[in-house]
C-alpha cells in the first residue's frame, strides 16, 4: 500500500515533483519575504531609537505605524 502511494501507479515522479516544486518554491518565497520584513522592522526601530526625545514624540504622534512597531519591540523585549 505504501509503495503504491509512493509510485502512484507509475505517475509518482510527476505527482511528487509537482507537489515538491510548489511547496519548496512557496517555502523559499515565505522565508525570503519574512527575512526582508524583519530587516526593515529592525532598521526602522533603530532609526526611531536614534531620534532625540522630541523627534521621537513627534514621530509617534504622527505615525500609528511607529507606535505599533515600538510597542511590539517592547513586548518582544
Amino acid at each position: 500500500m505504501i509503495s503504491n502511494f509512493i509510485t502512484m501507479n507509475g505517475y509518482g515522479l510527476y505527482v511528487w515533483l509537482s507537489f515538491g516544486v510548489v511547496f519548496i518554491s512557496c517555502a523559499v518565497v515565505y522565508f525570503k519575504t519574512k527575512k526582508t520584513l524583519r530587516k526593515y522592522e529592525k532598521e526602522f526601530l533603530k532609526e526611531l531609537q536614534a531620534l532625540t526625545l522630541e523627534e521621537k514624540n513627534k514621530a509617534l504622534e504622527n505615525s500609528k505605524v511607529a507606535q505599533h512597531i515600538l510597542a511590539t519591540s517592547f513586548k518582544a523585549n
Binding site: 502512484m8 505517475y11 510527476y14 516544486v21 519575504t33 526602522f44 532609526e47 513627534k58 505599533h68
Partner: protein, 235 residues
Amino acid sequence: MFKFFSSSNIYPLIQKLIKFINSIFFLILTIGLTFALILSPPDYLQGEAVRIMYVHVPSAWIGLASFSVITLLSILNFIFKIKNFYFISKSIAPIGLLFTCLAIVTGSLWGQPTWGTWWAWDARLTSMFALMFFYIFYILTFKFLNGEELIIKVSSIIAIIGSINLPIIKYSVEWWTTLHQPASIKITGSNSIHLEMMFPLMVMLLVFLLYAALIFLMKYKTEIIRIKKKNIKRS
C-alpha cells in the same frame, strides 16, 4: 471612504491577520494534502496523474486573479490617484508571478504523462507564458525605473495592456483547438468534475489563497515600513 485604505489605518490589522492565518494554515494544509494525495480517487483516464490538478489549477487561478486585481487597482489609481493602490499592486505582483510560474511548471509536469510532451505552443500555454512576461515587466519597473510618478505610470500601462491577455487565457480553449482541455469548472453552467475531486480542489484553493494572503500581508507591511522610514528621514 478612501481614508480607510490609508496605511496607518490598515497597519494594526495586518499583524492580527497574519497571526490568524498562521494559526489555521497548517490545519487546512493537512486536510488539503490528505484529500489531494490519499482520499481523492484516481481519474478513469489519467489515473493518479490527475492529482497534479490539485496544485496546478489553484496556481493558475491565483496567477490570473492577481493580475486582474493589479489591473483593477491600476485603473482605480489612474482615476482616483490613491497611492496606496499602487503599494497594494506592488505587493501582489510577486505572488502572481510565483503562481503563474508554478502553473506553467506543474502544467508541464502534467503534460508529459497525459499528452506525451512537456510543452506545446498551443493557445492556453502560450497565453500563460505571455502572462508570466507581463508580470516580469511589471516587477522590473520597480527595480529599474526611478521616480515614483514614472513607475506608477509605466507599471499601470503594463498592467492595462497585460489585461488584454486575460480573456485570451480564459477563452483560448474555446476559441482555438488546443491540447489543453476545456474548463471543467464554470461559474455559470454545470461543472464536469465529481464532488470527490471538487472538494479537495476547493480545499487546496483555500490553502493557496491563505498562503497568497500571508505573503501579500508581509510584503505590504514591508512597503508601509519602507515609506514610514523615508518619512522619518525627511522630517
